[in-house]
Structure formats: structure tokens, C-alpha cells
Symmetry: C2
Subunit: 333 residues, 2 copies
């Protein structure tokens, strides 16, 4: 199995990308790596480490897509970018199972649809991050922002895709699926979500437990939260804002009490750990013919290593095949 | 000025409600109190404190509306409930400026519209909590859940109402208004929010700064976040879920390290303070002819006292009058 990695995407590329990928290589010998990007820069980074060179390839790409560019235009225009070259390798190399980038989210989503394509029957691929929860496990949030305008049928497919992903990559057994709404009662939600609720109750192969609230993503007891991409993104970012605020206040408070920090650092570390969820890996873009994973733009080596190992699990767990198998027969026709 | 208080609403009624209201009475002598509810129970609580009895009235009400009841039915059927009696006092007594309840949110919203009525021209009243932010100030979130299905025109009015409220009760000077969306770029949002964006740009009397993300509610630098009630509620609850998770992890971590807790408790207290935003008062229901404020169901005396003082500021700051003044002339016709 090959994992293709955009070596030029994100704030800390290529240094932390290469370092993290090699860390993952050492931890798991089930795969090899294809880096895409500026060959000279990548080889320069690689020369700093010792590793099994038979498990590392480099494909040169002369361009980089930045966060400032309009995704659709950039993906079309920059055909020799590390992102597009990587997606092409994923598509064309039969051994390639997943592609990872810490670059522009919009470009990863647009490029994924354009070059990899949707699983037959899937109407809208969706972004699905794993968020740490109070139980010490993760909650999958699908869609976290790929589709601002949604129809009930999309949400039914998000539930199917996230269920397959949870079983394949997180060993979830019959994961509980909640619908993100403005209250837990059955009648809650705007009209679209009320229709989605009715449809989710009838969707085969998922364990639908009803409406859930924003607080249930981290503090509740479902495994998967299905959302339209607009409010799913708002939920994710709102929790992130609270987390950043807590982290800032902790930092400020202890800056004047360094000794107290040293004494309590283990306990504070536990809080920081849950707030820094990049350590859990990236957000998979579910619904494509092969796995595409977006790593956080600010990812350092440990986050990249986690994302690479997560991608290996995604491929080994047959996530894409499971999604295709779960779709009703009528859908693919 | 009279502040009318539902003495029977919330988890800790009537004890903490009465205690908190009397605390507020001692801190500010600009107002008097009308308690509604079981007279015997209220007088029993009052007998435990010494206070200026000329500033406290009790109106007997024989019924209580609970959280388990369907709001619209309960508000219609229980005409002698502490909630309905309180709203009637607010409506009929010219000196009464605000009503506070820690009871069922749905019943407070339904009862407010039914008994107090909307300001002429306001299409949909909206719930507007004040959320602590990283700057040590508050961000007003409007609507946080009263209206699941919204139109762009409603959001324009939410911005007007929250601006008036921010100026009146929080001394905000030309408050910056953001539209809650799935990204900060101008083109972000589903179709409804794209239309709302265009309308907000044209709305007179507000200082619109563009789209904001969920993280900006606590971590950003706008003063007011305008949202449809569906995603506004999700944003609020998602931040709350993160906060509850952090609090649970802190508690768990320090339960095994009590001495460390004692040493670092001042710093941990600063985090707890920001997460427990009931200390900031309640959520005002904006757009009614008189002020109706919902206090958190689990409010204790300190939260009730804060809500009462907040209600006094709302009335003194002429919030309702300011909203009416800000509406375009054409709207009220």
C-alpha cells in the first residue's frame, strides 16, 4: 500500500511533513510513501534522516497552491502543483490507497472531486473530522463544511459514509448516529432537518438515535454526529473557539505563576491534549473513490504522523469499499 | 421601576431565586421587585432575610409550568402559573420594566409573544445571550435558538435589536456585527446566508463587519454575532459542550492531585469563571414591547442576582425604545 503525501501543503511544509511521514513509516511497516512537491527541497529534508529508502518515492511537482487562491481556479490552472500531482498519483497508481495534504481545504475538496471522483451513487462527498470527546474516544462529525446547502438525502448518505468510516478506521461497533439540531426532541430543527430526521429513521444500515445538540459532539454519548456542512462547520469552529479561549486563559493565568504551572503541568497537559485534536489525525473527505485526507494547516510532525497512520487504517479497513457496499442497490444505478 | 420575577421557575426555585433577587436589591436601589408564585413558599423564603419590605411585592400564582410540558399548550392552559401571572403583571403595571424567569425556555418565549407582544415592525423576536470572550468582555449572540427557520430580513432585524441592546445594556460604542457563517470570505454561507450578507451590508444603523466563524464568538473581535436560530443554537451548545468537557477533565485530573489543585486553584478558577457564564446574567428575548429575560434553569442566587441587575440596566438603557427608534420608518406601517 502506498500513501501519497503533498509535501508542500501547510504552514510547516516541507520540513514537518517529511519528518512526520518518516515517523509514521518507522511505526508501521505496512505501507510506503510517495511525496509530491519540489524534489530538491524534499530530498534535502530526507537527507537529515535515516530510513528504508525502498519505501520512499519522490514525484517532482513545480507548483504550490496557496490558501489565498480560489480553489477551483487554482486546481484547474496549476496542473503541476504538489496537490494535483499527488491526486493524479492516487488515481493512477493501483497501489496508492490514500492522499494526504495539509494545504488549502477548498483546493483539497475541489481537487478530490475533480481528479478522484465520487463513489457511484454518492451525491455529495463530505468532510469528516474526528473530535475528542469526554469519554476519551472520538466523535465523527459529518459534514463539517464541504456542503453549505444540503438536502435531506445528502444527510442520509453522510450517516452511511460516517458509519462505514467509523467501523473501518475506528473499530466502532454499530456506531450511534445523532442528527445535529437545535434541541433533542424529535420535532426540533428547521424544515430541512425535520425531513432529514424522518429520512434517517428509514435509512438502512445505520444506528440512528435521534436529534442531538451541539454540546453532544464533545460531551454526549453518540459516536457520529450528522450535520449539514453549514451548521457542522459552525459547531466545529465554535468548540474550537471555546478551546482556544480556555488555552489562552490558562496560558495567561500561569504566565504569572510559573511555579504553579510546573506543579500542575500534568493535569493542565490533559486539558491541552483534548483541545489539540490535530494529534488525532486529519479530516477525511468521505465519498470519493479513494481516500483523501486533509491535515490541519498548522500540523507539525506529530500531527502528520498521526494522519499517515490514520490513512493506513482507512485503507486497511476498506472504508471506500464499505461505503459502496452500504449504499442501497437502487442508488448506484 | 419594578422587576417582575418568576419565583417558581428553574431547578433551584424558590430558594435561590428569592435569595438572588434580594442580593440584587441590596446592590442597587433603583428598583423594586414583584415575585410571582406560591405566596406561602415565597413568604417563607423571604422570612429568612432582612430587607426593605416596601421594595418587595408578592403576587400569588397557584400553578407552575414545568420543562416537560409543551410550551404553547402550557402557557394557554395554566393561566394562574407563576410565568403567566408574571407576564401579565409586566404587561399591565406601567412601572414594571422587565420580567425574569429561570423556567422553561419554550414557555418563556411563547408566553412573551402571547402576553407582551412584539414591537410594531419586528417580524421575529430573538433570544440573545451574552457569551464571555477571550478579551474579557462579552459577545452577544442573536438569535441563539428562538427561530429555527429564518429569512434574511429576520437576520437584519436581529442585528438591529442586538445593536440597540449592546448600546443600552453593555455600553458598547458602535458595536461590530458579524454574520455567523462557514467561513469569513464574503461569498461563504448557504443561499439564505448569502442573501442575509447582502442585506446586512445595506442595513442602516449597524456596524456590519462581514462573515465570522464559530470560533469568533469567543475568540474573535466582534461584539455581536448574528445567526439564524438553528445554527446560533448549535454554536452556543457546541461551545458549551467543549466547556463542559474541559471542566470535566480538569475535575478528573485534579481529583487525583488535590494538593496540586490547591496550589493552582486561582488559575483554574479563571478558566472555570469563563466557562460558567451564568454569572453574566440571562438571555434577553429581544423584540418584545417590554423586556423578558430567561435565566439559566440551573441558576443559583449569584446568577439570579446578576440577571436582575442586568434587567435593571436593560430598562434604564431604554433597550426597547432604542430598538423601536432604529427600525426604518417604513417598517412599522
Amino acid at each position: 500500500m502506498k500513501i501519497v503525501i503533498d509535501a508542500m501543503g501547510g504552514d510547516n511544509a516541507p520540513r514537518e511533513i517529511v519528518k512526520g511521514a518518516l515517523e509514521a513509516l518507522e511505526k508501521n511497516n505496512a505501507f510506503s510513501i510517495v511525496f509530491t512537491g519540489d524534489e530538491k527541497a524534499i530530498r534535502g529534508e530526507l537527507s537529515e534522516y535515516s530510513f528504508d529508502s525502498s519505501r520512499v518515492e519522490v514525484r517532482h511537482a513545480s507548483e504550490i497552491i496557496t490558501n489565498d487562491e480560489a480553489p477551483a481556479t487554482a486546481v484547474r490552472a496549476k496542473r503541476d502543483s504538489s496537490l494535483v500531482v499527488g491526486l493524479k498519483v492516487l488515481k493512477e497508481d493501483e497501489e496508492a490507497g490514500a492522499f494526504i495534504s495539509a494545504g488549502s481545504t477548498g483546493a483539497v475538496l475541489t481537487g478530490g472531486i475533480m481528479y478522484i471522483g465520487r463513489i457511484p451513487g454518492i451525491q455529495r462527498p463530505a468532510l469528516c473530522p474526528a473530535i475528542p470527546n469526554v469519554r476519551g474516544a472520538v466523535t465523527l462529525l459529518c459534514d463539517a463544511g464541504a456542503n453549505a446547502d444540503c438536502k435531506p438525502a445528502y444527510l442520509s448518505q453522510f450517516a452511511i459514509m460516517a458509519t462505514a468510516y467509523g467501523k473501518a478506521a475506528y473499530k466502532m461497533d454499530n456506531p450511534r448516529v445523532g442528527l445535529l439540531s437545535n434541541g433533542t426532541e424529535d420535532h426540533k430543527g428547521d424544515m430541512m432537518h425535520q425531513e432529514a430526521f424522518a429520512l434517517l429513521k428509514e435509512t438502512d444500515g445505520i444506528n440512528f438515535v435521534g436529534n442531538v445538540e451541539g454540546r453532544d459532539i464533545m460531551f454526549g454519548d453518540c459516536d457520529i454526529v450528522v450535520a449539514d456542512g453549514f451548521s457542522g462547520n459552525i459547531a466545529l469552529k465554535s468548540a474550537e473557539g471555546c478551546g482556544k479561549t480556555v488555552a489562552a486563559i490558562l496560558k495567561e493565568a500561569f504566565s504569572k505563576a510559573k511555579m504553579h504551572y510546573l506543579i500542575a503541568r500534568k493535569q493542565i497537559g490533559q486539558v491541552k491534549n483534548i483541545l489539540d485534536y490535530s494529534r488525532l489525525g486529519g479530516s477525511i473527505f468521505l465519498g470519493l473513490k479513494k481516500a483523501v485526507v486533509k491535515s490541519h494547516g498548522s500540523s507539525r510532525a506529530d500531527a502528520i504522523a498521526a494522519t499517515v497512520l490514520q490513512a493506513v487504517d482507512v485503507v486497511k479497513g476498506r472504508t471506500v469499499e464499505r461505503i459502496a457496499e452500504m449504499l442501497p442497490d437502487s442508488v448506484g444505478e
